[in-house]
């Protein structure tokens, strides 16, 4: 179940020589697992995601997808295996919602059923003829998720998401996370960059904690989501409102003891 579909080996990257944004990251992305990438601003989370996507090339180290060097995977094969949800889209033209979602199959055989299913799953049926650029930021995020889900139907192995719920209301945040958990249950490796520690605590199987381009902690949520690990990285006082000792909350997968955090500035 948990074979590594993607491997990062000593991956480093910088936009300018001598100024690394991502530094010597080694990690495995296993199938059937939701990995939350957390860390303060400018920790290198989005850059790491772009390296995993292949839009940036590591200055040192290597990334492999399904056992092959990422750079050597053909564009069509890569699209079949790996999908991506940006935090926001840079659309300039008024494509309809259904056309944006259909673009997920650009390099892949057309799959009408997948299109119908994701439109329903992401609550987009009423919006299908609306211009994408006229939607609210939260609605746009749902469309981008639907596009990635449409693309991942079939041979999808990895889905990379950059703060996919940052503009959503509470109901859609949890609906989206629930959809990601279903994809995880279906065997997809789901990697989500997020800022909300409580969301990570509730849904993540594994957590990568980044600081100044380095992976300072990586492992199961039990090992990483602890005030002693988080406080030095975020520079705030973090308390477990409901913690492991009193049972905590139940995670989406039914495990008890998931923590709920509160944070305040350190004195």
């Amino acid at each position: 179940m948990n074979d590594a579909v993607m491997r990062l080996d000593e991956v480093s990257f910088g936009y300018h020589p001598g100024e690394p944004v991502v530094e010597r990251i080694t990690a495995d992305v296993p199938s059937g697992q939701l990995t939350a990438v957390i860390g303060p601003n400018a920790a290198g989370k989005t850059t790491l995601l772009k390296l995993m996507l292949g839009t940036l090339s590591p200055t040192r180290g290597a990334i492999s997808l399904n056992g092959k060097k990422l750079r050597s995977v053909a564009a069509g094969d890569r699209a079949a295996m790996m999908s991506y949800v940006p935090q926001r889209s840079s659309a300039n033209f008024a494509f309809t919602v259904e056309h944006v979602v259909a673009m997920g199959r650009f390099a892949l055989p057309w799959h009408g059923q997948a299109m119908t299913d994701v439109m329903a799953a992401c609550d987009l049926e009423k919006l299908r003829r609306k211009p994408f650029i006229e939607l609210s930021a939260g609605q746009q995020q749902r469309v981008l998720l639907a596009r990635a889900m449409c693309q991942a139907t079939g041979d999808g192995r990895v889905m990379l998401l950059d703060e996919p719920t940052s503009a959503m209301d509470l109901r859609h945040v949890h609906q989206t996370m629930d959809r990601l958990m279903r994809l995880r249950d279906a065997g997809l490796a789901v990697v989500v960059v997020m800022h909300d520690l409580n969301l990570a605590a509730r849904y993540a199987d594994a957590v990568w904690l980044m600081q100044e381009g380095r992976l300072v902690a990586a492992g199961s949520w039990r090992d990483v989501l602890k005030p002693a690990v988080l406080e030095p990285v975020y520079g705030v006082k973090i308390e477990e409102m409901q913690g492991r000792r009193d049972g905590g909350t139940e995670g989406r997968s039914g495990e008890p003891g998931r923590p709920v955090f509160d944070a305040r500035l350190a004195e």
Binding site: T55, Y84, H99
Partner: protein, 333 residues
């Protein structure tokens, strides 16, 4: 993509209406000026009108499709061959070649002819604009327009310089040609060459329509959907440069067609590039030939007013209207 990209009934009606418009203005262009009669003279008149009609259709279609391609690739509905200095680049290439011819220099460009000179000028300008308007690998929309304006100004200055060095007779011809003038002296051979090039480029652009749709999103999104952006950019920029060079070869630099036609057709057909390319080609052809019909009918400048001047009169205010949403947005544009 395949399932959602098909033309709807409304799309088909719009395309048929545009086709009918092209037909009407084409027949009008052949007819305007009265019956050409039978016999030798009649045949000559018809041939001249047909030549000018063919030039108008080709120039309009190539400029409109060139604008559509640049707007898709630069993710900017304000991009056009004229505003980005591509037309003036092609014009500079041709004028430089003409000047070489005048001074009797035999350079490599001169040997290859005006066609190659125009293509080199267009591609060089496009390349400069493309490279200078990038910020960390992404195109800055306002930066793009500013660089285009500057390249246009530099090309304009170089054209004036060449103009100054040229003799009075050549200078007069050049000035008229620079206004955007359908010159019947161009000849059938050049028209057929540019027409074939334009048709081939339009077919290629239709074939690349789905890829251009995807390319209008960010680099990361397009890459994730399986698009080879580098290859597409190379192909589409080459097509846009060739189309612009072809149109300049026939009629000199004509502004605003490449800007206005995709914009108007996008309002009718939406942004899907397969349909947009076909619709823009027809709208561009109809606009140039229609303007020619008006010039002849209204007898503006004894029926010989350069069509580029008319386009500038119509296009300038329309461009300002289109620019309105971008004004006042500063760096967010």
């Amino acid at each position: 993509m395949k399932g959602e990209g098909a033309a709807t009934r409304r799309d088909r009606v719009v395309l048929i209406a545009l086709g009918a418009l092209v037909l009407v203005v084409s027949v009008s262009r052949l007819w305007v000026g009265g019956w050409f009669g039978f016999g030798e003279l009649g045949r000559s008149v018809l041939e001249l009108r047909a030549l000018e009609l063919g030039m108008g259709l080709t120039v309009g279609a190539s400029l409109a499709v060139g604008g559509t391609l640049l707007q898709a690739l630069l993710r900017n509905p304000l991009a056009s061959p004229y505003l980005l200095g591509v037309s003036s680049g092609a014009a500079l290439g041709m004028m430089f070649n003409q000047w070489l011819l005048y001074i009797g220099a035999v350079g490599s460009i001169y040997i290859m002819g005006n066609q190659v000179a125009a293509v080199i000028g267009a591609m060089t300008s496009l390349g400069i604009v493309y490279v200078l308007s990038q910020k960390r690998g992404t195109i800055d929309p306002l930066g793009l327009l500013l660089v285009g304006v500057i390249v246009n100004a530099v090309n304009g200055a170089a054209i004036m310089f060449i103009n100054y060095l040229s003799p009075r007779g050549l200078r007069g011809d050049m000035a008229l040609w620079m206004m955007g003038y359908l010159d019947a002296n161009t000849g059938w051979w050049t028209l057929v060459l540019v027409m074939l090039l334009t048709l081939t480029a339009i077919c290629a652009a239709v074939w690349l329509g789905g890829a251009m749709d995807v390319a209008t999103f960010s680099d990361a999104e397009a890459h994730s959907m399986g698009l080879n952006l580098h290859r597409l950019r190379l192909g589409v920029f080459s097509l846009a440069g060739l189309l612009t060079a072809g149109s300049v070869l026939l009629a000199g630099p004509i502004g605003f067609i490449g800007l206005i036609c995709p914009h108007l057709v996008r309002m009718l057909l939406g942004p899907r590039h397969r349909l947009l390319v076909i619709g823009s080609a027809m709208a561009g052809a109809a606009l140039i030939v229609g303007a020619e019909v008006i010039i002849k009918l209204a007898d503006i400048g004894q029926g010989k007013m350069p069509v580029g001047a008319i386009m500038a009169i119509i296009g300038g205010p329309l461009f300002l209207w289109m620019l309105r949403p971008q004004l006042g947005r500063g760096g967010d544009a």
